[in-house]
């Protein structure tokens, strides 16, 4: 199972929501990078919401993309908000310190608020 990345723009806020489904492994990280990094590098984007509700696996290749995105966003005060991560995915974020680099919320709605 590969990863599927779908970007939509929330109509009310204009915030991009990137839905990530599947396994974020050594192969899929390239697709995730292609979907996330252009948004992260766009100076007009102040927040990106990652809908992780259907994300079932994250290896270090995927984590690297998160870190690269945060490094691109933080200097301009932009933020990455991860929503609805499963226990296993949230555990990986915690043990690698990702939870201190991005916002984590239970739902997409809370990330958009």
């Amino acid at each position: 199972m590969a990863v599927t990345c779908t970007t939509t723009i929330d109509e009310a806020t204009g915030i991009p929501v990137l839905r990530v489904e599947g396994r974020l492994d050594a192969v899929a990280a390239a697709d995730f990078s292609a979907a996330l990094l252009p948004l992260a590098e766009d100076a007009a984007v102040k927040r990106i919401v990652l809908d992780c509700g259907e994300l079932v696996f994250v290896a270090s290749a995927g984590l690297r993309v998160f870190i690269i995105a945060v490094k691109a966003m933080k200097p301009r005060g932009a933020a990455l908000c991860a929503a609805a991560a499963s226990d296993d995915v949230a555990s990986v974020f915690r043990m690698t310190g990702l939870q201190t680099l991005m916002i984590m919320k239970p739902t997409v709605g809370e990330c958009l608020a």
Partner: protein
């Protein structure tokens, strides 16, 4: 089940999942490693291993084999002109799951890794180094031995009572 690449052999025997991988060139290695990880995940799920256990072992398989494909040749002199080969087994026990991996690469003791920078300052964060860090967080024990022709490491995941 999709067909396996020629470079990958897998067998299942009760509570043991065995594999042997002859590494393809580095740019093709991730695809083979991901196939192995998916097969291992299916094996563990079929045997009722907890989602957290399945996750930990999947991460271990990917991190250790991807590391070997990247650094086994480039940084450590590889397998001395031979094919780089990794073989191993995941063994389900009553109290623990053991993941053993043997390779024929130059010496690499994972216990001697550099400390991973987990700073909350993004500008200070290294992008790499997270794979082994996760394994040492997830697994209770790591044993390493250098053999005459390669490395053996064993990762022990204790099961909750």
């Amino acid at each position: 089940m999709k067909p396996l690449p020629d470079s990958l052999e897998i067998s299942r025997d009760g509570g043991e999942f065995r594999f042997r991988l002859i590494f393809p060139p580095p740019d093709a290695a991730p695809g083979v490693v991901v196939t192995l990880t998916e097969e291992l995940t299916a094996f563990l799920e079929e045997r009722g291993v907890s989602p957290a256990g399945v996750n930990s072992l999947g991460i271990a398989a990917e991190e250790l084999l991807i590391n070997l494909s990247k650094y086994g040749i480039a940084e450590h002199g590889g397998a001395g002109g031979r094919d780089l080969v990794a073989a191993g087994a995941v063994t389900l026990g009553e109290k623990a799951i053991t993941f053993r991996i043997d390779d024929n690469s130059a010496p690499f003791d994972p216990r001697g890794r550099a400390k991973t920078n987990l700073s909350d300052d993004p500008s200070a964060r290294a992008v790499g180094g997270l794979g082994l860090h996760m394994l040492f967080e997830m697994f209770e024990d790591c044993r390493y031995a250098r053999r005459a022709d390669g490395n053996t490491s064993e990762w022990i995941l204790r099961l909750a009572k």
